[in-house]
Structure formats: C-alpha cells, structure tokens
Symmetry: C2
Subunit: 230 residues, 2 copies
DNA sequence: CGACGATTTGAATAGGATCAATGGGAGTGG
DNA sequence: CCACTCCCATTGATCCTATTCAAATCGTCG
C-alpha cells in the first residue's frame, strides 16, 4: 500500500479522522487493482469479503430476479461501496460491474469489522455513512413508488443540472441504456420520455442535454427536497 | 420511566448490552404514550427530535409526492423506527401514523446521539441495526423494480406463511388497502392479484388466506433469498 | 469498410390505474 | 336491538403507461 493510496482513503470522511495506526491496520492485505470495463466484481449472495473503494472509473450496482435485471445505483469516484455488507459480514446484496476501466481498492471486510470493534470514532463514522446510504435508497424507493417514468427522468435531469453547476446544459454521465435501468424503465421508454420532455425545453443531443425552459421543467417535475435533495 | 419499560427497551438488541448508566441516561426525558388509531406521529421533513419504539399496536411509515401516497414499511412491536434520522439529527425521511391504538416510547434523539458518542458498544449496535434497515429497503426496492404486482403479492404471502409458522393458512396483519399500498399497487389491483392467484391455490376468506398448492405458488413467485430472506 | 451494439421510432400488447357501481361489515346513535 | 352511515373490498369497463417485438438509423471500434 503506497502512501498516495493511503491519502486517497483518508480523503473519505469515513476514514478521515481515523488514527494512523488503525488506518494502517485496515490497509494490511488491501490491494489496488485496475479492472477493464464490463467486469463483474462480485455477485449478490457472494460472501462479502471486501469493502470496495472506487478510485477512478465508474461502477454499477445491479440486481437480478426473474430473468430481469435492474440498476440499483451508480458509484462514482471517490467512494466506498458495499459498506453495509462488509460491516455486517454476510453476503453482498447486489452485484457490481465496472462500466468503464476502473481503479478499485479492495479492503478485506474483516479489517473493517475489526476497526469497528476497536475504533470508536470509526464506528461513529460508519453510522453516519450507513445512514447516508439508507437515506439514498429510501429516496430511490420513494421515487419509483410515487412518480411516473417521465417525472423520474425530469427530476433526475434537474438534480444533474444542479450538480453540474446550473449551466443550462448537462452531460449524461452514463449510457442511456444504464440510465433507463437506473430510472426503472426500458431504453425505448427513456427515448420516449425524452421526447415527452421536448415541449418542456429539453433538447437531447447525444450525451448532452440542454434546458431551454427550466421553469416549465420544474413545474412538471415537482421536485421534493425529501427525494431530490436540497 | 418505570423499570418495566426499561426492560422492554433492553429486550431490543440495539440496547441489550448497553451499560446500565448509559441506558438510564438515554431514558431521561423519554416518555411512553398511547396513541389512538390513525394518528400522524410526525411528517417527513419534520426535524427528527425523537427515536420511536413501538411497544404495542402497529405503525405505518409512508411518504407523499405529487398528490400520491405510498406505504414505505410497517412497524410491528417491539421495534424502533426512524433510527437513522435520529442518529444523524436531520429531518425525518418518512411520515408515520398509527394503524391501531398503539403504545409508543419516545426517546429524545439528542440522547441517542450522545449515547453514540459516549458508548462504543452502542455505536457498534447502531451500525448493525442501520445495516439491517438498509438491507430491508434494498429488498423492497429490488422487489418493486424487478417484480410484477402479482409476483410481489405471491412472495409477500410466502414470507408471511413462513413467519406465521407454515400452517397452510395465514392471517393478513393489515387491511388490504394498506397491504396494497405497501406492495405498490391500488386496492382494486390487489383484489385482482388475489384473483389471479386463485388457480395457484390461494383462497382468500376475509383477512385469512389459505394455501392449497404451495408448490405452484412458489413456482409462480420464484422467491429469492436476496429479496425474501432465508 | 464492416460489424456490432446503442438508440430511436413504430405498432401491438400487457400491466396497472382510474372511474363507477355494488356489496359487506364495523361502528354509531336512536 | 335495529337502522343508518361510512369505509373497505370487490367487480366491471375503460384509459393510460410502460413493455415487448420489430425494424431502421446512428456511432464506434476493430
């Protein structure tokens, strides 16, 4: 484990205030690996042997049932994923695959559990991190239960617009196929949802989306802080 | 706070191994209250001032958006709810209402946060509890994303059947109206879903449901451990 | 250039929602 | 105790959303 990698780990709030020796202990047996695109890192129900940290690239967490597959969430750097499973020590709840070539740090889950037992501060940080994860799924759950496909897309676009700096245009961070799955629809339906938003000033050009009537779009989307953030 | 109430709290794994003095400290300012049915305890976006413990009765957590309302989950005794919000100290993510007359213990959220800072063991237990909550929402999210309404109902029935002791008959623990909302459908659609399951040996008699062809029902439901539990 | 996958568009279908009407209990008040 | 009311549950008819199947177009990469 090189110093530079340790600094990356420390940049995460989960590890930011961890004592040096505990952080060193966590990183024993960890390894950084580069995966090409479209590699399955693990599958749901595999024993959760590692906590993952995405250093760069992009990862999709997805799930299968009844011959159907759905994107649960997307991970972008720098962030941990499958923290809950690693902390509890049971099986992964979702599968993961790289969407692009990605550098990923893998930390033995046992190290994480040991740290939780030993390091009070880390346990507290874990509580906050897990609460944030929980919050995120609850939002996604509300969104799919209470909104139509077009509303979900409209709100997704508005959230991205805010995150990307309110420039009147955004770049979709993933393939539309994946975006469709994340929003709980088929690719065909996403195309049609974009078409439905055209009268609301949404102009799609490849991976770029331009907004010409933000007020109209907001009126349609009816964003809620409890789902879409502040 | 009477001794008997303290014992109830201690019966929860979250508090089971907490030192006596810390438990006493948590319960300062807590109060036990009986609410009639259909009382809203709090609404999403209210500041999370309390951790709730349902002693008896039944509580529904629900959410609103766009004039629609949906049941997020049901709480049955004895269990805490809104732990994540209480631990983090921001707003509730869901609203809550009693479905029956219910006894509820309300613990000031600040006490919970103080305990997390002070009591390493409690922080660890909180991690496990939050991970379990997270797991639960992920299951619900998978279910609604990957299954049809009939499949969700079939799997719900099988889970209840297991929980109620595999007797070939179950009693629905909630009104069908609420069950429908929890499964992400309209009451009318739940009726039709039950009708669809009739050829699979599902016989509804009021709040009782009898199973006459469990194998057929399982074949239809295709239950998965990662969604429906072991 | 050629092949492959992603995206879009069209047509038909299926799954749920909505609207409307009826029946069935539970609780209330006379 | 009974009539009345209200809400839940069921059923039918219809509408709307989203999926499926099919085909055409576009882009990218080898």
């Amino acid at each position: 484990m090189r110093e530079s990698q340790k600094e990356i780990v420390r940049s995460l709030s989960l590890f930011s205030s961890m004592m040096e020796e505990n952080l060193d202990a966590i990183l024993v047996g960890s390894f950084l690996q580069r995966f090409p695109a479209s590699v399955v890192l693990f599958s749901e129900s595999d024993p959760a042997d590692f906590l993952y940290i995405l250093i760069n690239g992009q990862v999709e967490l997805f799930a299968n049932a009844n011959n159907r597959e759905g994107t649960m969430t997307l991970i972008r750097p720098i962030a941990t994923f499958v923290l809950a499973s690693a902390l509890v020590g049971d099986a992964y709840q979702m599968s993961a695959r790289t969407l692009e070539s990605s550098q990923i740090l893998m930390i033995p889950a046992e190290n994480i559990r040991a740290a939780m037992r030993k390091d009070k501060n880390f346990a507290q940080k874990s509580v906050l991190e897990l609460a944030a994860c929980y919050h995120g799924v609850v939002r996604a759950y509300k969104s799919i239960k209470l909104r139509t496909a077009v509303e979900r897309l409209a709100n997704y676009l508005l959230v991205q617009h805010r995150r990307q700096g309110e420039k009147g245009v955004i770049t979709l961070p993933v393939e539309k196929r994946i975006l469709a799955s994340m929003l709980g629809m088929r690719p065909e339906n996403l195309s049609r949802a974009f078409a439905t938003l055209k009268p609301y000033g949404v102009a799609v050009e490849g991976t770029d989306v331009r907004f010409q009537k933000l007020n109209d779009l907001q009126t349609l989307a009816k964003p809620l802080e409890s789902i879409d953030g502040p």
